[in-house]
């Protein structure tokens, strides 16, 4: 196995394309480089000179999988700059549509992208032949998430009903109630999902991560909260840039995010779960317990399990919102632009998504900065790969590649912005 270099074909089942490169020498990992993400610089440039009202729709185009997250972070940032704060039913509707996105995104990742790794299939298509019922359940779950997005957003891909200040049109109570029956099925199906995933074998692996997520005093975080970590971070989102840095790394177009004081950090379902467990609904806590999860989970391979628990929560929360909903007097509050800076940070399915805009007095965008969750996890993924591979170097390359892919997919990396195909390269010297 000396001086061996292997080029492996495309890494499937991560959103978009990219690549990673492992360099092995003298039975140890010398380098693990991940190049699967292109920062949304084009969009940042494209936003300059446009009106604040356009930011939600333009940024939603960055990702077809989590458009709501982009729209929400953009709306909150503009509202922050213009001192507007939608409350009551508008705020509830925002949580509801976000629940829809979590359900559809988590269902896609659990069933069609990650489960095949655990069950030993090349992909969901092969898995469907042996597990058609599971695949059908995943597809129906995802569809129910999409139905929420369609009802509130106008359409599920790049929803058009969301605006700074609220919505263009608010649904009636009766319209929301049409979702109830499906959501009850979805809640049960999510519990089943958790119990199904709990039967998978998880590699014994964990590291001393710094988990970062939003935390809200009374709810599991979606749109609002302070940024907290398990290592003492506790800041308002407006201080994001004082604590987090983006460093340019040579092997990649990507910017790697780090915490200035401590380096790599971990965002997404595991981080939310560990930092907000008490805020989960009773049904979600129960599903966690029944599937063997403790109050804390540090094994990234169990992220698939936490996603299932969060799907239970999202269904529960959607049902709660629908049952207490009364339409707002107006679908949006008035927003009057003024010169200033605004910050938005919300919990995309994959973790915190940070937006910052500078506006002039007419509300035109002077500058934009967008930090997606996948960019924030890149450094942690590289460190995971280095550690994980180090103890498995005896494996043949194809087996090693499989396990690396599985480890990358723990983070559900959304690399829609990537323009290069993902090639896995394991180089042994």
């Amino acid at each position: 196995m000396n001086a061996k270099s292997l080029k492996v074909d495309f890494l499937a089942r991560v959103e978009g394309e990219g690549g990673f490169h492992l360099k092995v020498k003298d039975q140890s990992v010398k380098e693990a480089k991940l190049n699967i993400f292109e920062p949304p610089r084009f969009f940042e440039a494209f936003l300059r000179g446009r009106k604040f009202t356009e930011a939600p729709d333009i940024t939603a185009r960055i990702c077809g999988i989590c458009p709501i997250a982009y729209q929400m972070s953009a709306c909150h940032a503009a509202e922050d700059a213009f001192a507007a704060k939608p409350e009551g039913a508008i705020r509830e509707l925002r949580r509801l549509i976000y629940c829809g996105e979590w359900i559809e995104s988590h269902a896609l990742h659990i069933y069609l992208l990650h489960a095949p790794d655990f069950l030993g299939y090349e992909d969901a298509i092969q898995m469907a032949k042996d597990h058609p019922d599971a695949v059908q359940r995943g597809l129906r779950l995802k569809k129910i998430g999409n139905a929420i997005m369609t009802l509130l957003g106008g359409r599920e891909i790049h929803p058009i009903n969301i605006r700074v200040g609220g919505f263009y049109k608010a649904p009636s109570k009766a319209q929301l109630q049409t979702l109830e029956e499906d959501l009850k099925w979805a809640r049960d199906a999510s519990v089943e999902t958790a119990l199904w995933v709990a039967t998978f074998t998880f590699p014994d692996f964990q590291r001393d991560y710094e988990f970062v997520a939003l935390r809200h005093p009374s709810e599991y975080p979606l749109n609002e909260g302070r940024l907290v970590s398990n290592k003492g971070l506790d800041i308002p989102i407006s201080e994001y840039e004082q604590h987090f840095a983006e460093e340019h790394v040579q092997h990649s177009n990507a910017l790697h995010s780090t915490l200035q004081e401590r380096g790599a950090y971990f965002v997404g379902p595991l981080a939310r779960y560990n930092l907000n467990f008490e805020k989960l609904s009773p049904a979600a806590k129960d599903a966690a317990k029944r599937s063997g999860l403790g109050r804390e989970c540090r094994n990234p391979f169990q992220g698939i399990l936490v996603r299932a628990v969060e799907t239970v929560y999202a269904c529960d929360e959607a049902l709660r919102i629908i049952s207490t909903y009364n339409p707002p007097d107006r679908p949006a509050i008035e927003v009057v632009p003024r010169a200033g800076m605004g910050h938005g940070c919300t919990e995309a399915p994959r973790g915190i998504l940070y937006h910052k805009y500078a506006f002039d007095e007419r509300g035109l965008i002077l500058s934009a900065k967008i930090v997606p969750p996948t960019a924030q996890n890149l450094k942690t993924i590289e460190e995971d790969l280095t550690d994980y591979v180090s103890t498995r170097l005896h494996l043949p390359n194809d087996r090693l590649q499989w396990q690396c892919e599985q480890a990358v997919r723990n983070y559900d990396p959304c690399i829609s912005c990537a323009t290069h195909f993902l090639r896995v390269r394991i180089e042994r010297e």
Binding site: E15, F43, I125, A128, E156
Partner: protein, 163 residues
């Protein structure tokens, strides 16, 4: 549902990803040209959405940008009922579960539409941007015309048109 209402014409892509918008460009060019009984749909390429989009359809014509290694602007045509989609078909997509996966999953579960024709337009540049490459933009009218002729000659469309 009558036969004609179950024909769907789907354009796939992201117009903010340069040539990835080729399929959408074709669909937009044909709006108003295809008979009204043919349902037209624009999709981002999320495979599960495609499964929904053609769920009740007997006949589906789909157009997407692809990256196979052929010269940019090459127009591919595949009959998905009779041939497996080549792996390169989904590699231009920003979705992990894209067009090829949706078709193969539907095949695995016995859910393929009775007729499924897939057009691919070879792209060059899939980076962020709103313009098609000249080589790709140039073939959009020809691709649109080919697809229009195919749609007009579909048995379901023809028989509905004659009544």
């Amino acid at each position: 549902m009558n036969a004609s209402s179950s024909t769907v014409f789907i354009g796939v892509g992201n117009p903010f990803r340069s040539d990835d918008g080729a399929g959408i460009a074709v669909v937009r060019r044909l709006r108003g040209e295809v008979p009204p009984r043919v349902r037209i749909q624009e999709e981002s390429g999320d495979g599960t959405e495609l499964l929904e989009a053609w769920k009740d359809a007997d006949c589906v014509i789909l157009v997407d940008a692809v990256l196979s290694g052929a010269p940019p602007g090459t127009i591919h045509r595949l009959d998905a009922r009779t041939e497996k989609l080549p792996t390169w078909f989904s590699h231009s997509s920003t979705h992990a579960f894209g067009v090829a996966e949706a078709i193969e999953l539907a095949r695995a579960m016995g859910d393929l539409p009775a007729r499924l024709i897939v057009y691919g337009i070879e792209g060059l540049d899939f980076s962020a941007g709103t313009e098609l490459s000249p080589e790709v933009a140039e073939v959009v009218p020809a691709a649109a015309n080919l697809i229009l002729q195919e749609i007009l000659h579909l048995p379901a469309v023809r028989s509905a048109g004659s009544t």
